[in-house]
């Protein structure tokens, strides 16, 4: 992202001199403008006049500043740096955080090495600058993880709530004896889950921190939600044993990976709804495989987990893209394959 610099039409003077307009220029193959405090102040004034770094453009700034010898090229790069400095989170957009910070460091280092006449003080300032950048990167990474954790919890909550509504509605439907166009049970083997990429609590443990809190939350919810659940699958007895170890596949509320069973493939039979009085559950007990295999699924999952420690700034997300398989067993082993798609764009 280092912008290619076009040479300006200011002839490089032999040494560091003050040009007529008060600009300090340097000597080197690529003429560089030295942003003095006064010049920078004028720059900031102009930017603010124009409504902030996002609204201002190099052209308008140039007009407002009215400084002779100042070119668009100077302003473009300075504005970019200014924007970055003002709103560091914008870096999420295009590159990974580390790259961005590395670039900033590079740029600063490059510019500092070229400009002559830097004093000792300036150099140490540059070093501090570099350290600050590094810390900034780390801070942003942590922040992102925080956001991710919160997001997961929130999505789960919403999923639970939706489930309760749906179950109630289907209960009502069954009670009224009306056939529903879409049965509840055609999850089959091909349920797709749009949010499958969430890290299990197990994965979150890799990051320590407040996963403990997440666990507590789930425990608390598990207990209090039992009453909230319409039925309780006997399979749920596994749940407490599984706490903290892996996902609990059969508790409808604690299973974000199973909370969207309705995305069936077209070639599945749409089953009419059977009597639901005793078995309203979301987990797919009707799969040929038993519970153990499903446990396998989730054990295998951390390996393909979203937040594996060996990934640097990129966070890999498993989203089951379009495929005729959905969840499926590979031929060789009994683990479910999730097709990794793309890195989370940061």
């Amino acid at each position: 992202m280092f912008p290619s610099k076009k040479p300006t039409n200011i002839n490089p003077p032999p040494m560091c001199v003050q040009a007529d307009s008060g600009l300090v220029l340097t000597t080197d193959p690529k003429p560089r403008l030295r942003w003095t405090v006064e010049l920078h102040d004028r720059f900031v004034d102009a930017v603010n006049q124009l409504g902030g770094p996002d609204k201002a453009t190099p052209k308008t700034i140039m007009r407002v500043m009215g400084v002779k010898g100042l070119t668009l090229y100077h302003l473009k790069s300075h504005l970019q740096k200014f924007r970055l400095g003002k709103q560091p989170h914008k870096e999420f957009n295009d590159h990974s955080l580390k790259d961005a910070a590395a670039l900033e460091l590079q740029r600063n280092a490059a510019s500092s090495s070229r400009i002559m006449g830097r004093t000792m003080n300036d150099r140490s300032v540059q070093v501090t600058e570099a350290i600050r950048m590094q810390l900034e990167v780390q801070r942003r990474l942590h922040e992102q993880l925080e956001v991710q954790k919160h997001l997961q919890i929130r999505i789960e909550a919403q999923g639970k709530y939706m489930q309760s509504i749906l179950e109630k509605a289907y209960q009502t439907l069954a009670a009224e004896g009306m056939p529903s166009g879409v049965g509840y049970k055609e999850l089959g083997d091909q349920a797709l889950d749009a949010s499958m990429g969430f890290p299990s609590p197990h994965d979150l443990q890799l990051y320590g921190g407040s996963d403990h809190q997440v666990m507590d939350l789930q425990q608390q919810m598990n207990q209090s939600l039992d009453g909230f659940l319409l039925t309780n699958n006997s399979n749920n007895d596994n749940d407490n044993a599984c706490l903290g170890k892996k996902m609990r596949p059969h508790h409808p509320y604690m299973n974000p990976n199973e909370k969207h069973p309705f995305l069936w493939d077209d070639d599945l039979q749409v089953q009419e709804e059977a009597s639901k009085s005793d078995q309203i559950q979301v987990a797919p007990p009707d799969r040929g495989e038993g519970i153990d295999d499903i446990d396998d699924v989730y054990e295998a999952k951390p390996a393909a987990g979203m937040l594996s420690a060996d990934q640097s700034a990129g966070l890999e997300k498993k989203f089951e893209g379009p495929s005729s398989h959905g969840w499926h067993q590979t031929d060789d082993d009994r683990t479910w394959q999730l097709r990794p798609s793309k890195k989370l764009v940061l």
């Binding site: 956001v147 709530y161 309760s164 995305l263």
Partner: protein, 527 residues
């Protein structure tokens, strides 16, 4: 070329119900010289790209051979090579997409026939008959046919409804619950949430803004314009109880839902469900509702406000949620105006967004029905595309969402587009601009919020984008089109608090820049 055209037109006039014998010549001229008014380039490119892989299905393998109507329409299509020349100007892809474009052409032509002072309903009728033939396979109920056929079928239905009874579509959103049972509605809603970030984006962005505004408050009171099933509040409650360690216990959350007409029972059910959910989380909660006036206006006095609580107004305005009643614009306006009087701390708003070409137009009123229709067509085809791109194999699931949620949405949108030009007070336009004119100030969207939105989008297929639009708005888009925006506002201080010397709040005029201040580093930012 002429003979082909004439044959087709012959078909048309035969099948139309009105006597059009004398108009054959007109039709011939119209059809052969006809060019669409709008610029197709931005529209046809995405259409062409995304339906490339539907080429096979376009070469209809499953048309019943004993179905003469379908056969004749199909044979017309395949024989229409001369028309390709005209159509190819707008399409870069191969033959299969011609049918798509024809459908679109026909839809726009029908809309134009209903537009403005030179309305020509008979032409519209005829075009719609032709359309119906072409999308017969789609059979809105059965969910068959190709994606674009279903889309065209919905729009054709909407237009037909306009012709027939002045109300678009056979099932406006209000009637959805009559036509579809509740389980279907909810299932479709769940499916939509799973397939696209459409719903969650709005909910989560608004909730995060509310969280930030109420960071240290003991009591939070949310006034919700359209609570529907209350899904939004589940995650807010969750967020309130799981605030980072060390925070004081969660504040008391009170939700007041604005109810309209006779929806009382459903609303109470929602309230009960929310209360149960809150109890399960250990979140202190209470629920109440207030009614709109007889004229569907919101009166702030009907909301009970407790001293010391922070009031927040929530306004979800995308048509998947809201009904498409007449007078809705007025009730939204009254709701937003009431924010000042209630002393709301923030107002969160989610509304549909158009692509930016509106800026070129001189004024809202100059967009005729056809132009608005095209905008809606564009919007819904974007939504269609996004669903299909993510879930190409799940046609039936998509079909259900289209039928139960998007179809009524289309009907409502076409209705609104039609009425906008006709009735006063029906003009909705962009609510963001409206509140700006009312003196609302922008509340910045935090880093956290923006990051959350990006992460959310990352869970869905490629193509969704979120970007900032100003400091207080996030816009969700698919590829290059804008779909939905979530924005956060602070209402102007209530009138009775203004000193006599200060200027009154300007209503309905465009504000100068002095009215919009930005809260960049205030306590609104959650860091």
């Amino acid at each position: 070329m002429e003979t082909m055209m004439m044959k087709e037109i012959g078909d048309l006039s035969r099948s139309s119900s009105s006597s059009t014998a004398s108009r054959d010549v007109d039709f011939a001229c119209a059809w052969s010289n006809w060019e669409p008014v709008a610029d197709w380039a931005p529209f046809s490119a995405p259409v062409a790209d995304d339906f490339d892989d539907l080429v096979d299905s376009m070469i209809c393998p499953d048309v019943a051979l004993d179905d003469p109507a379908a056969l004749s329409s199909m044979s017309n299509t395949s024989a229409d090579t001369p028309i390709d020349e005209e159509v190819n100007t707008y399409a870069t892809a191969g033959d299969g997409d011609d049918k798509d474009l024809r459908l679109v052409h026909l839809l726009v032509a029908a809309a134009e026939a209903l537009d403005g002072p030179h309305r020509y309903p008979e032409l519209a009728r005829v075009i719609l008959v032709r359309l119906k033939e072409l999308v017969e396979r789609a059979g809105v109920d059965s969910g068959g046919g190709t994606s674009i056929e279903r889309l065209a079928a919905h729009f054709a239905d909407a237009l037909q409804g306009l012709l027939d009874g002045g109300v678009a579509g056979r099932s406006s959103v209000r009637d959805v619950r009559l036509h579809h049972n509740k389980a279907d509605v909810l299932t479709a809603f769940q499916l939509l949430q799973d397939m696209s970030p459409y719903i969650k984006f709005g909910h989560f962005t608004a909730n995060q803004a509310i969280l930030e505004a109420c960071l240290d408050d003991r009591r939070v009171h949310v006034v919700d314009f359209d609570i529907d099933e209350g899904v939004q509040w589940a995650s807010l409650m969750q967020a309130l109880v799981s605030r980072p360690g060390g925070r004081p216990p969660p504040p008391h959350l009170r939700i007041t839902a604005v109810s309209r007409g006779g929806g009382s029972r459903a609303m109470q059910e929602t309230g009960r469900r929310l209360a149960a959910f809150a109890a399960s989380l250990g979140q202190p909660f209470s629920f109440s509702h207030c009614r709109l006036d007889a004229d569907e206006r919101f009166r702030p006095a009907s909301v009970k406000v407790v001293k010391g609580e922070t009031v927040v107004m929530n306004c979800m305005l995308h048509p998947t949620m809201a009904a498409t009643r007449r007078g809705r614009a007025a009730s939204v306006a009254s709701f937003l105006s009431g924010a000042a009087e209630l002393g709301a701390k923030v107002v969160t708003m989610v509304e549909e967004e158009d692509d930016d070409e509106r800026e070129d137009l001189a004024a809202e009123e100059e967009r005729g029905f056809a132009a608005r229709f095209m905008a809606e067509l564009r919007r819904y085809s974007t939504v269609w595309d996004s669903l299909e791109a993510g879930f190409p194999m799940q046609g039936r699931a998509r079909g259900m969402v289209e039928r139960v949620i998007l179809g009524p949405g289309i009907a409502g949108a076409v209705n609104r587009a039609y009425r906008e030009g006709k009735e006063e007070g029906e003009k909705e336009g962009n609510w963001g601009e409206w509140v700006t004119a009312m003196g609302f100030m922008r509340v910045g969207i935090s880093c956290f919020n923006h990051c959350q939105a990006k992460l959310l989008l990352g869970l869905f297929n490629d193509g969704y984008k979120v970007e900032e639009d100003g400091i207080n708005k996030l816009v969700l888009g698919w590829k290059t089109s804008r779909l939905l925006s979530a924005s956060v506002w602070k209402p102007p201080p209530p009138p009775h608090l203004l000193l006599p010397s200060s200027p009154p709040i300007l209503v309905g005029t465009t504000s100068s820049s002095g009215f919009t201040t930005s809260f960049e580093d205030s306590d609104f930012i959650f860091d």
